[in-house]
Amino acid sequence: MEVPVLKQGQFLIATVQAALTDEDLIQLRIALVERVVVARSRGVIIDVTSMDVMDSFASRTLREIAQMIRLRGAATVIVGIQPEVAFAMVQLGITLEGVVTALDLEEGLAYLNQAFKNDS
């Protein structure tokens, strides 16, 4: 199942669905990295509101996405982690260290706008 990625100004927004397989996540990584270059985006928001489970593979892949996007000069923000999912993540021991997180889409955009206001 492909993850929809929309362009909003100079940012890309990827909205993840619930039944995301490992393969879907890998495809997302490839797609985002490519589109960041093509669209010359400064930032990517990955909205995981619908993700009901975040396990070690998902967490690792999201970190890889953030790293690869940073190498291409853009920032990544993960938004929409649900309270129950966050709780399970810390129990499992996965912290998404090094990845910027925000409450929701609105906060994610606010963060990116702020980051680039400071830049220029």
């Binding site: 489970v53 070690s56 499992l92």
Partner: protein, 133 residues
Amino acid sequence: MNESMRVLIASDQDIVTARQKGRTLASSLGFLATDATLIATAISELARNIVTYAKKGELSIRSVETRSQQGIMIVAKDEGPGIQNIESALRDGYSTSGSLGLGLPGVKRLMDEFEIVSVVGVGTTVTVKKWKN
């Protein structure tokens, strides 16, 4: 109430199926949102281990009951290579492929009871339980 289900694990799609079914059963047994998520996450990790290390196996999810408690039990079974050093695998930070390894310490934290039997060359069975209270 004695509900149970078996999911054959052979692909990453099966991992998703297993955790969705697990969540559904957990909810129907009366587990609240947070616990249902912990259970689904544990299932995801166990199923993924099967796919990664044994290529295929099976997961059974069923309700369990004692005289004072109700809960859920998950058995992840495979006929894969088995784990050489179970003790190391159960220690945090242990890694076989530069990743988070088997994630077994994490699964142990998510659930209330954890049991593992693994024989090199024969296979691995992990049994976990979570109680409602």
